[in-house]
């Protein structure tokens, strides 16, 4: 998983232009600083939330305060109206003029009294702080009707005044006669605009804040600032009105105000009848609420940007000296090495840090390569030298061998030709003496000369056989399929022809085909079968057999004699068996040496070279030849090819 992430990262960085070490370091720096950015944003968000909360609470507290002040004010006014209702100038209609004057001075003392006066029970205005002309009938006003009906204090008319065009509230108290019958009502009309003005003056709302008194229909009764522009307007669809309607007595909302400014509004219900609810609402500009948070954010961002820039600069400069230059040096050395310059080295200090270790490893590797290369070159040169020497020696030896061969050739030729000539002379002239001087020689003399002749003829055979042996040794071998069965049959037929009188029972296993030189294998069979023929010569029932060993047939060999016969020979083992005089196994080792004979020449003639010739031929075929026998019990000669 960790690996997967690394792979992803490197894939990603490879795709983007972050492939250089420096760029990667910078990327790492930004990644490392990300939490700091996050923390800053979170802190600012937190601060903003707190500021909003604080502002909300503050505003709510203010509106509550204002609402309760309003209620206290109404109570104060009730008491004032109660007092006024006792005055004679209120009771007596004839003192209406005095009443009006008194009320005018009262109004002058209270900036938020829009008007005050007395209304007759028929609704006509009797006296008023503000001058009025003709007959003004107020019998339809709710506060008037209410106070006459209940004979008690009544509040009403939070509305736009018909006379002043200002938002106002009217408070009334009944004027009762001796019979406790209401004969008039005294009232005070409050100037809501002035009230709001005073409220905003006594609180410490931030600049751009608004204070609005409005009813649930969206009619603005008072607003600070800019009352002229907004008072009297009815905005039932304004967002704040909607919020108020759905929230009830008290609440807050972040809304765009009617003047288009984003504000945090807090509102509270402070007067309510069945028909209408009157709210007071304070709006604080969002900008003001969040100004601190914004400033904080700007400062923090500036600070961390500076830190980032400084760190990036340090990395930019530092990476060059600490990473990029050594990396470039390593790269140059690697490139030179790659181009075959084995003397390339980093020449960086072999310090214990990673770069130093890489440089150390690289230099070590380059040295090892160089050493190996020169070692290989030296070895190559040595081999080349050895080859040249060998070539030279082979040429020399071949020439020597050719010379030796030629000498041997000349020698054999000379032997076969020159050695025989004197023998022929000895034999021939001995015969001549026997023929020409028979009468003078006597039997003894003739016998001696016959022995001379026999000896010369034997030597003639020796020479012939020696020549044959030598020829076998140097004759060229031609490998082909040879029908051994047919060959053996021919040899035996020839032997029979040479001695037609002999009765020999011979058997040749048919279909034995081997690979070898036909002429040389003929010599082998000539000798082996010739020997068998010779050494059975004295038997009445001679038996000669040529065949192949059953054990060496492939299947049997695998099963029966694994590792035994197999390790000795790889091919089939042929044999020539006779029931002749045999031989003593004690001397079996001498059988195949030249001139070694186990029988008397007088008994069985021979030169003692035949088996040596056989062995040489078998060896030249890569085979083996051995014999088994016992004196008087025949002999078996085995050979493989």
């Amino acid at each position: 998983m960790h690996r997967g992430f690394n792979d992803q990262l490197s894939k990603w960085t490879a795709r983007l232009p972050f492939s250089s070490l420096r760029a990667r370091l910078l990327l790492l720096l930004f990644l490392a600083l990300l939490p700091a950015y996050g923390f800053i944003l979170y802190s600012v968000f937190e601060a903003r939330q707190q500021a909003a909360e604080h502002a909300r609470e503050n505003a709510l507290w203010l509106t509550r305060l204002m609402a309760s002040e309003q209620k206290s004010l109404i109570e104060v006014i009730r008491q004032q109206l109660q007092s006024l209702a006792q005055l004679s100038i209120v009771h007596r209609p004839e003192q209406a003029a005095l009443c009006s004057r008194t009320f005018a001075s009262l109004r002058a003392q209270n900036s938020f009294y829009a008007n005050l006066g007395v209304i007759n029970s028929d609704g006509t205005l009797r006296c008023s702080a503000l001058p009025f002309a003709g007959r003004v009938n107020l019998s339809d006003r709710d506060f008037f009707r209410e106070t006459l009906r209940t004979r008690a204090f009544a509040v009403g008319g939070y509305q736009i005044d018909r006379v002043t065009g200002k938002g106002s509230a009217n408070l009334a108290y009944p004027v009762l006669d001796a019979a406790n019958t209401p004969q008039a009502a005294v009232f005070i009309a409050l100037d809501l605009g002035a009230l709001a003005d005073r409220l905003i003056e006594t609180t410490s709302l931030p600049e751009g804040s608004t204070l609005t008194i409005l009813d649930n229909h969206g009619t603005i009764l008072a607003r600070q600032p800019d009352p002229e522009q907004w008072v009297g307007q009815s905005l039932p669809d304004a967002p704040l009105i909607q919020t108020i309607r759905s929230n009830g007595d008290e609440g807050n909302a972040e809304e765009t105000g009617i003047d288009g400014v984003e504000r945090l509004y807090v509102f509270k219900l402070f007067y309510s009848t069945a028909a209408k609810q009157i709210y007071i609402s304070a709006g604080i500009p969002t900008a003001a609420v969040f100004a601190d948070a914004k400033r904080l954010l700007a400062r923090a961002l500036l600070l961390i940007s500076l830190v980032t820039a400084a760190a990036a600069a340090v990395i930019w400069v530092g990476s060059n000296a600490l990473l990029l230059q050594p990396a470039a040096t390593l790269m140059r050395a690697a490139r030179r090495l790659g181009q075959g310059d084995l003397s390339a080295r980093t020449v960086l200090a072999h310090t214990s840090d990673e770069l130093g270790q890489i440089a150390h490893s690289f230099d070590g590797m380059a040295s090892a390569l160089q050493a190996r290369e020169s070692e290989a070159a030296r070895a190559k040169e040595e081999i080349r030298q050895l080859n040249a020497d060998l070539e030279h020696k082979v040429t020399e030896r071949t020439a020597e061998l050719a010379a030796a061969n030629q000498e041997l050739e000349a020698f054999s030729y000379s032997v076969s030709h020159d050695l025989r000539a004197p023998l022929r002379a000895i034999d021939g002239f001995s015969q001549a003496v026997i023929e020409d001087y028979a009468d003078k020689l006597g039997d003894q003399g003739k016998n001696h000369l016959n022995r001379v002749r026999a000896a010369t003829q034997h030597m003639g055979h020796l020479i012939d056989d020696l020549i044959k042996l030598a020829r076998v040794a140097r004759a060229e071998m031609k490998r082909e399929a040879v029908d051994l069965s047919a060959l053996a049959g021919n040899v035996l037929a020839d032997l029979q022809a040479s001695e037609p009188a002999r009765k020999v029972e011979w058997r040749v296993e048919p279909g034995l085909v081997a690979t070898g030189d036909a002429n040389l294998l003929r010599v082998v069979l000539d000798n082996l079968l010739g020997n068998a023929w010779k050494f059975t010569g004295k038997l009445a029932r001679a038996r000669i057999e040529f065949g192949v060993l059953q054990q060496t047939s492939p299947g049997m060999d695998e099963v029966d004699r694994v590792g035994n016969r197999r390790s000795e020979t790889s091919g089939p083992t042929y044999f020539v068996r006779d029931n002749g005089v045999g031989f003593d196994m004690t001397y079996a080792g001498k059988l195949f040496s030249a001139f070694q004979r186990l029988h008397n020449v007088s008994e069985f003639p021979g030169t003692g070279i035949g088996l040596a010739t056989v062995r040489r031929i078998i060896h030249r075929h890569g085979g083996r030849v051995w014999a088994e026998g016992a004196a008087g019990k025949g002999a078996t000669f085995y050979f493989s090819l």
């Binding site: 030729y413 076969s416 000539a421 022929r424 002379a425 021939g428 001995s430």
Partner: protein
């Protein structure tokens, strides 16, 4: 029949004597001319050198040719005989001690009519000479003379 000459080319005096004895013992009484090396044999056959005055029409009925000869050896003599129109058809019997295959092969390929190896056993030698005489001097019809 007695005018049929035998040319015996033989450098070994023992072999010469034995060959003559064998001929005589076999009752082959034809005249025998002896050349003791290759040069002498060629001189005789081509009537040159010591034999410059010889009648070239009287060529031997058979040449018994040894191979190992001083100066010019038997194979060379054979080659020159076969190369010359006068002697090209003369019967040549190689009579030698050598049984080397290459001698046999080159002898026949150069146009020898027969190849006989001289046996050590004189009895066998006699037999060989008898057969040569019988065949080449009595049975064989020599090529017509020009």
């Amino acid at each position: 029949m007695s005018d049929k000459t035998i040319l015996l080319v033989e450098d070994n005096p023992d072999d010469e004597a034995l060959t003559l004895r064998a001929l005589k013992k076999n009752n082959i009484l034809n005249p025998v001319t002896i050349a003791r090396d290759g040069v002498e044999a060629l001189d005789y056959l081509f009537c040159q050198g010591a034999y410059a005055g010889r009648d070239a029409n009287l060529q031997p009925a058979v040449i018994l040719l040894d191979l190992k000869l001083p100066k010019v050896d038997g194979l060379e003599v054979l080659k020159r005989l076969r190369a010359d129109a006068r002697t090209r058809l003369l019967p040549v019997v190689i009579l030698t001690s050598s049984k080397e295959e290459q001698d046999l092969a080159s002898g026949y390929s150069l146009g020898a009519n027969s190849y006989i190896r001289k046996p050590v056993d004189f009895t066998q030698f006699m037999e060989a000479i008898r057969q040569v005489g019988l065949y080449w001097l009595m049975m064989n019809e020599p090529p017509p003379k020009k």
